[in-house]
Every structure is written in C-alpha cells, then in structure tokens.
Symmetry: D2
Subunit: 151 residues, 4 copies
C-alpha cells in the first residue's frame, strides 16, 4: 500500500515503543510495511490459560496489536488510531513455543481502516492458524484523543 | 440461572486458579454466581497502551475471561469451555485506577453458551463503560481437549 | 435518550418511508422513540430458509434495520447513518407466525453510535430470542454520502 | 478442499432449491465447489435502502447465504449447518447493477466451520468490495434440527 506520510515508519515505531503491554507480553516486531505488520511471540508461563495453551486473551490482544499497528502505518502524521471493535475467531488451540502474528489493512478509508490479523504457529512445514480477527480501526485527527504522556 | 452441577463453584474456582495470565493481569474475582461473574482490576503500568490508558488487548482479554468463566459456571462437571469467537466494542477510553468487569450467559445451550461481558469504571456516581463484548463459548465433553496439566 | 434534533421523528420517518427492502420484507414499526425502535414482522413464505424457519438473512437484515433506525433517531437533522459492521448471534430457530424486533442505542457518540438489537417471538407467555446483534453505526455529515434520490 | 460426502453436490443443490428467501432476492449460483461458492445478484428496486443503494440487510443476507452454502459443501451426507453468528463489515456502498458474491470455508472442523464471504461489483476492471463477512457455522447431525418440510 502507499503510505500517507513520508515519516510513517518513525511515527509507527514511536507508537510501538510507548506501548507497555506490548513489551510485557513480549511481542517482537519483525516486519513493518505500509498496511502490513509481522511479529513473533515466544511462549512463556505468564501467557498460559488453564490448559497450558496460549491464553485466548493474549491471542486477541496480539491480534488487536498487529491490526492496530497495520492501521497506524497508513495514517497521516499526527493522526491517531483507535480500535472501534475487534472480533476474534479461534481456529485451533495455541500449542507451541513460538507464535507468529500478521496484521494487515483490508480497506483503508478516510474515517476507518478495516483490518484483519491472524496468529499462527508452524508444525513442521504446516502453518496452523490459532486465531483470525476482523476489526474496525478509527482514524482521527491529532488532539482528538488526549494523551496521558502529553504535557 | 440454575447450575448444571452441584459442584459448579469448586470446578469454576479450579479453572480460575489454573489461569496464569489471569493472575499476571491481576484480575480479582468478587462475585461468582451461576451465569454471572464479577471481577475487579487495578490499573498498573504493565496494562497501559501508548496513550497511558488501559490497553485494548487487556480490555478484550478481561472481557473474554469473565464471559468464559460465566460459561464455566453453567456446565456439567468435567465439561470444558472454549471461546469460539469474541467481539469487543470499545465505547470509551479506559482512564481510571480501578476497573470493574461483569460477564454473563445470555443464552445457555447444549453445544454453546452465548455470553456477553463489559468492563467499566466509576466516575463519581456515573458508570462509564469501556467496552462490551458478545461471544460464543463452546461447551464440550471432558477429554475432548487435552490438558497440558493432565498427566 | 435526549434527541439531538427537534424534528427527529419526521426525519426518521422519512428514512423509513424511503426504504424499499424494508417494505418488501413487511417490517411494520410499532414504536419510535429516541434511541429505541420497535417493530413487528409477520411470517410469510418468502422469508423461509430451507427448513421452513425464518431465514437467517432476514433475521440479520431486520436486526440491522431496527438498530440503524435507532441510530437515526439520535442524529442531528441532515446527518446520515450507515452501518460500519453488524454481528448477529443466532440463539434459537425462528419458528413462529409473528416476530418482534427491538433496536436500541447502547452508546451514542459523535462519530459512531454503538447499537444492539434483537428479534424474538412469544411462545405463550415466554419470550424466545431468535437473534441478538451488536453493531457499529457511523454518523456522518449531510452530503458525505450521495443519495441516488437527491436531484 | 476434499469433500466429506461423494454426493455433496446433490445435497447442496437440494438445500439451495428449498431456500425461498434466496429465490426471492434473486441470488443466482454460478460456481459450486467443495468449500467455495460463487453467486451473482442483479440489482432491483426491492433491494434498495433509503439512498437507492444495495440494502445492507440484503448484503448481509447474501454474505450469510454464500458462507452457509460453502459450509454445506463440506459436511457429511445428512448433516445440517446453521449459522451461529455472522459479522459483516461494510467497506463501500453497493452502487451497481450487478453484484458478485463469494463464500468460502476458512477452517473446516468437526463441530464448526469458520467461513468468510464477500460481495463486490466491478467498476471497469476494478473490483470494489461492498462487504466482507466472518462467520461461525455449526455442523450438526441429521435430525438435530427438525425440518418443517420433514413429514
């Protein structure tokens, strides 16, 4: 996709660096393109649900993050993105030591970006999809949301 | 609602106790009823998104948890619950030191429970809804999902 | 809810009157309030799916209509509403001669209204919910969407 | 995809033929494959919303139908499919004389099929997506749902 700001990468990186939950979960970004984000997640005990698999809440949080950053890669400088709604479908249990997440913009608009994302792992050569999301991201002007970090 | 097992509370508590992500987030359960779960969450730095508010991923994880436990309160002993899909709508930014979450079963079936949940905070006397979810929980027989903890 | 235009009722009625699919399905409005819409639907052969029940597509169309009109009851004069997304959960098969639909605004905002709706029938004294929806309605300024009827 | 019944096509066709709402809308099937359904829809006045575009309710009904039939193409003989939930995102207004719909199975399981579908039109060489859906279809044994047509 064609980015809407020449500084899209720095702006996106700034948003990622400020995100403390992202760091707490341990999501590691491996590819940032306009409209496409890829990341990896190493499994750790903190991310388990009651059966020892990747927690569905973590799965949905990661789906939201990569979709949201895909949206952030397609805004004008200073514009903000927030999640209007996100639906996550759970295809297979998350049983792996390492997960991969991809988020992308399906349709970039003026007011919204419709995005999707998925999280998967590799079982030998086979890709096993853990979850897929469909989400609406609102694009709004700078200053429309107050930032706790803005002084 | 009428529970489907006389030991629903012990069974539900066992599921809660095993959930490591739940503990990591710091979700604290305040009311467990058949078909209705209430919990509280104290804000901490780890849960922030880039603006310093409650991270949407945490919000959706909490929505999934209280809805899922509401479903777990309405199964026969030994049955398992997993999230088929969960949609979360974000009504207001999560700007507070303390959040409240409620999950409930809207319709209990044989194969699925349709559940909803919400997360909110109090601004003086006013309840401010941060997010509301609508979710499908599958109810399956014991043993249909292997448990990493089962030896 | 407090309407945002003194002429909300006429404006809403105009939108209803122009809707040809609404008329084709036979949806009959019984109560129009700011933020709350009620309607009835008589079963007819055209609305059947393959088992002879109310077609899921009709159900979702009706859910979308009453939620959308609930949103239309809460806009400023001239503003338009369009459905960003709508999720419908199917609780019970639609087996009846008469259905009732209710749509309401859960949270009215500046850019969006989050709405819900349900369709149900009466089985004696008991209310049987056929479907429940959760939807995002965008509120936009007059002229932002071109109207085929505008000359 | 590999069908689960040698008679999948006849069974699917039977389900399509029985669907009266499908006929009323005028949906015409152009390609039936295991896990993939394609159809066309000619615009007519009955399908208009208040701006003269394709009604969102029709859009969602068509999304549900092609996704549902994609699921029906991937069941064992006699098994039934019903929509558990369907979320439709509206990308662009439906302004055309002819629409195309595609439904496919993203993940075929034992209890559910996760399906997606889209409806689009052609603007010269360009494909314009009107809506995209993400849906959960339950697969159940014959006889679990009573058929009004079964005598």
């Amino acid at each position: 996709m064609t980015p809407r700001s020449s500084r899209w990468r720095e702006y996106l990186q700034l948003k990622i660096d400020r995100n403390k939950f992202c760091a707490a979960v341990g999501l590691h970004f491996t590819n940032l393109q306009p409209g496409l984000i890829e990341a990896e997640l190493e499994m750790k005990e903190m991310l388990e649900q009651q059966n020892g698999y990747l927690h569905g809440g973590v799965t949905s949080a990661v789906c939201d993050m990569v979709a949201g950053y895909a949206a952030y890669s397609m805004v004008e400088e200073g514009q903000q993105v927030f999640t209007v709604e996100c639906k996550v479908s759970y295809y297979n249990p998350g049983i792996s030591d390492r997960f991969y997440a991809t988020g992308w913009v399906e349709k970039a608009g003026k007011r919204f970006h419709f995005c999707e994302s998925e999280i998967y792992y590799m079982k030998g050569e086979e890709k096993v999809t853990v979850a897929k999301s469909s989400t609406t991201m609102a694009v709004i002007e700078a200053g429309a949301i107050k930032d706790k970090h803005d002084k």
